[in-house]
Amino acid sequence: MRSSLIVSAIGCLLGLAGSAHAAQLASATIYGAFSQHTAQCAIANVGTTPIFVTVNIVDESGNVVPTSEHCGTVQPGLLCEVFASSISTSSAFACTATTKGNTGKLRGSFNLLDANLSTLRTVELR
């Protein structure tokens, strides 16, 4: 009985450690080229239930860059894309996707595009 209580307590401790924080997927900070014009972050839900996700594109100082949207609920099998236009041609950028649930069913990529929307650079969120 006493052993069971201790095992339960350990389980609770480890469980709490896993659920205390929002989970996130994050990219590295990347630069594309002097011709970079648009930053795009795409988050896909590859699971079978809707997932609420907040997506932000940030500059090197961690400041959130104005974007078209920040996503929200992403339905199964769909993806949400966030764009930031007219970005600095001399700075690097990154993307973060935050969810209160598990990120296991989310896939993310962060892209830097030129004015013709040709991809200059792509990195995975992990």
Binding site: T29, Y31, R121
Partner: protein
């Protein structure tokens, strides 16, 4: 006795969890340089607490040959949510370039990238890049 064993197991579990937060070094794969190329190492702290870093540019996986022309990674802890960079304005021709980052803190909260950039008339363009792992 059984209780003691369980407690010891728990202590070992928690202890190993703490060990995972000890300092670790991450490094990029080798990137080929060419004529008129520049290099960059970006490190991003995606956690909430500052981390201390030592970021180094490597030539053929060896430190000491490529000095940084600019860096804001190594002199002060990197705040949560921020990025720092080490820049090399002109890489040696036809060698490999790598970035390494010694991280004091949880490396799970670090995202880092190494870049080789072509120096063009209008500016820079990344021609090869890899994450540090």
């Amino acid at each position: 006795m059984k209780v003691n064993t369980l407690l010891a197991t728990a202590a070992a579990l928690l202890g190993s969890a703490s060990l995972a937060y000890a300092g670790q070094t991450i490094i990029s794969p080798a990137l080929e340089t060419g004529s008129n190329t520049a290099g960059a190492c970006y490190v991003r702290n995606i956690g909430k607490t500052p981390i201390s870093l030592q970021v180094t540019a490597l030539e053929n996986l060896t430190p000491g040959f490529i000095p940084a022309d600019f860096q804001n990674c190594n002199d002060a802890p990197l705040a949560g949510g921020h990025s720092c960079v080490l820049l090399v304005n002109n890489l040696p021709d036809d060698v490999t370039f790598e970035c390494s980052a010694a991280v004091s803190g949880n490396v799970k909260n670090v995202r880092a990238s190494a870049e080789v950039r072509a120096i063009l008339t209008g500016g820079l363009q990344v021609i090869a890049a890899q994450d540090l792992r």
